[in-house]
Assembly symmetry: C2
Homo-oligomer: 508 residues x 2
């Protein structure tokens, strides 16, 4: 038996993928569970990734004409009830505020008091509360469109939670727009889908498929739901963002009406769309490896960790000032319009351990500097996207000048690797047996044990969709916009005619 | 009787200050009430001010070594109970979550179901939930200090609310730090107080007094509370930010313990500090006038509104492209490291009305451009800090090049005006009769009808503090850090010895 390579994360992906995920999150100090069931603490390193996601997306939203605003955390129960499918979709996961103070109870402890006349739901999403405000704002077609986004926390009570991927409270953005015409709202829905796709690919270095959800997978109350879907390293899909065309459903529920150009009173057409801290879960599951987190440079909280190497106080006194000067020099370098993020790690610990701690955190670049490097004017560079033993020495000034290019090279390499992985595990499958085999792992130990994306024909029946889900835990992730471009065929489950292939996968 | 000058806001400050405030908020489209009792909708123009406040403060926090993180929205009731004074202070204003789903009730509507074993309080502030996490993180003195800030929403149930100033839900930042020594925590508390003061003065153009709160006005559970206090145009004080030295109170309640350098197990020393969307209320009450909002340029969502003037389609076709070119030219200009914010208002409405709409929104600069301006290569400039009839013509290129300087001039003028107002209404008062007279308006109609800041001696007794509050609704806003520098004296209320003057005022 070959000697097993030592990894910084244990278990490895191959050994136990779900546990590997938890250990990556833990050892990178991204997040942790809290004393409140299902609610997580997002630690500074994880939150800084979220800030970068927020800022990058926010720029894209603003560039497409949107502005931010803020609406109440609480939704009166009666508002939620206005749209029947909507409330049905969320009723089972609502945190409900019923009282507005605490007072001493019979046994001395505090108990809820001041019962509310109408319970308030902590927003699971804000269509209904925002709709009530838009109804006040909109009188005439001149008041449209409204193009607003909100950065907020939302709560959906979850019984089984997993850090970032599924938590009771999570952070997200939710866009809510109202339009004069169906076409304009439809175009908005697809514009945002494209924003999400470009963000995922350009910033997260995560290739995604886009398409429409089937009726059964739609957002509760939406006419159409579009999504971006990414492939994780276990070959499961992650729905990474959704953009909903709401038709006039919510406008009717909330009374968003306006006088049209023709003088008629009409209901507005609305959209909503969101991505959440779940994206960080996606980043981890796409890029992290058996040595821990790997953060695409464009979203990294910091870019370069400088690791001073010394074996004595004397060496320390020489190396530290040299490293401080290097840090200052690096901070003068601009990467994508902002100063490089630089960490100078002066902690008093073993050099190897120190280096691995940054590997586990996923910082894109490490530079070790010891007395010999100082003497030679070099640094010893480690790229997070390749093995640790591929570190290389480089003249200091050459390194400093080249960091922005190096980071962009890493960014591209991560995307290319993820794209190759997705392509490798995406297959057109026409036969039921092959379809079953694709989703039935031969070797549970392989990290890529869940098949991947099957591009297969579907007859459009709920029965086949359900059968596939019941038998294989496989769902239709999306119906591509160009479905059928490669021809019609026969449903992989029942053999009846299909207008084109859709994307099947197991999913988170 | 002199003809009353027409104002864009009615009533004026002199006529009805509280109603004037509401009308400024409404006509600037900063915020509005929602269907949820006490919760506001922060509209895009108001939210953009908050984003600028957030970004500027965030830079200052990061420059002083802090990082951001995110902690749960919910606090288990038992956590809140751990610190006796703390829970007593907040018990009356807690929104309480008691159920985690909705189900059909007896009469068909939905009712709360899935009762929680332990009720959850929607955070009114996060000392206890964050403390529980710090207790896990801190083992040794090497784990200290922890310097974390959180941007979040909080809920304090209020019976009487006013937009921005007092709302049930508000947005804020809350810093929570833990330290090895008392001195270090004390220094942190004062460092942040200084950050707040500088932010208020440099960005908000609001002069503030700093000092310590009396025991009765302390944050529930704190050992010492420090604050910044600003004077509004009605001469009342607004507490605009607080920084709390928590001693070891919360560390003991939450079990934040560490092994010291001497090998002893000790409790950490903690601080907490926050400012909220209340600051926007302060901005309005310090700078806005009878024509509406006035936003200091450094916090303005946008800086220049271009108002094309035309009387025919022909003129329109000539003026609009010219204005678009001007907008593009202005957007190339950098103001404090970022591109100028420029609005090109092409709405089809009366030019005067259009101009006033921007005055009411408080944009720092307007530029009108009509056919004659075009022909002459000039623009017609309006500064928000002076009267509308003081607009002036200026060559276009001269204007464009001078905008950053103009904005800084407006910023400085706003601060100087507010400072002069505060100084004018701050008085050393030694006699009880004069003290009473100061806080008893002769003329209720004057905007400055609540006296101002009285610098008076106080014997340190709660009895005198209470008497002054009961008789005059006047409180001790703060005890200056240099109290007594101008000598000791006799308490303005009882005549007993006083170690120095403190600041008295009516307040929001």
């Amino acid at each position: 038996m070959a000697k097993k390579q030592k990894t910084a994360i244990s278990p490895t992906r191959a050994e136990d993928y779900p546990e590997w995920y938890q250990q990556v999150v833990r050892s990178a100090e991204l997040a942790e569970t809290s004393a409140v069931r299902g609610c997580m603490v997002i630690r500074p390193w994880g939150y800084a990734i979220w800030e970068n996601i927020r800022d990058a997306l926010d720029r894209k939203f603003k560039a497409t004409g949107h502005v931010n605003a803020y609406f109440p955390l609480f939704i009166p129960l009666s508002f939620l009830e206005k749209e029947a499918e909507h409330v049905e979709g969320f009723a089972k996961e609502c945190a409900v505020v019923t009282h507005h103070r605490l007072e001493a109870g019979p046994d001395g402890g505090l108990v809820p008091a001041g019962e509310l006349e109408e319970p308030l739901v902590v927003r699971p999403t804000s269509e209904t509360i925002i709709g009530a405000t838009y109804a006040k704002w909109v009188q005439s077609y001149r008041d449209l469109p409204i193009l607003i986004n909100q950065w907020a926390n939302v709560v959906r009570w979850e019984m089984r939670t997993r850090l970032f991927l599924r938590t009771t409270e999570f952070l997200w953005q939710e866009g809510h727009t109202a339009h004069e015409t169906r076409d304009e709202a439809w175009e908005e829905t697809l514009t945002i889908l494209e924003v999400y796709k470009r963000f995922a690919e350009e910033y997260m270095a995560v290739p995604v498929l886009t398409g429409e959800k089937t009726a059964g997978e739609r957002f509760p109350g939406a006419s159409n739901t579009f999504c971006i879907e990414a492939m994780m390293q276990d070959c499961k899909a992650l729905q990474a963002g959704t953009s909903h065309f709401l038709g006039q459903n919510f406008a009717k529920a909330s009374g968003i009406q306006f006088q049209s150009r023709d003088g008629e009173v009409e209901h507005a057409w609305t959209t909503s769309w969101g991505v959440s801290t779940r994206l960080i879960g996606g980043l981890i599951m796409v890029h992290a490896d058996d040595n821990g987190m790997v953060i695409p440079p464009r979203l990294a909280p910091s870019h370069v960790a400088i690791l001073p190497i010394f074996r004595s106080d004397e060496e320390r006194d020489a190396v530290l000032p040299y490293c401080e000067a290097l840090a200052a020099q690096l901070r003068e370098v601009s990467y994508r319009g902002r100063p490089l993020g630089v960490e100078l790690d002066t902690r008093d610990m073993n050099a190897g351990e120190k280096g691995w701690s940054w590997v586990k955190k996923g910082i894109p670049v490490t530079v070790e500097v010891g007395p010999r490097d100082m003497a030679e004017g070099t640094v010893y560079v480690g790229r997070r996207d390749v093995e640790r033993n591929e570190r290389y020495g480089q003249p200091r000034d050459l390194f400093v000048a080249g960091v922005p290019e190096l980071l962009e090279e890493i960014q591209a390499a991560l995307f290319d690797r993820a794209k190759a992985f997705m392509d490798e595990h995406t297959r057109a499958i026409d036969e039921w047996e092959a379809f079953v085999a694709f989703f039935t792992p031969e070797n549970e130990e392989k990290p890529e044990s869940h098949g991947g994306f099957a591009l297969s024909h579907w007859c459009e029946s709920e029965a086949c969709e359900k059968r596939i889900n019941d038998d294989l835990k496989v769902t239709i992730r999306c119906i591509p916009g160009d479905r059928g471009a490669d021809g019609t065929g026969m449903c992989v489950a029942c053999g009846k005619p299909s207008p084109g292939r859709v994307v099947f996968a197991k999913s988170y």
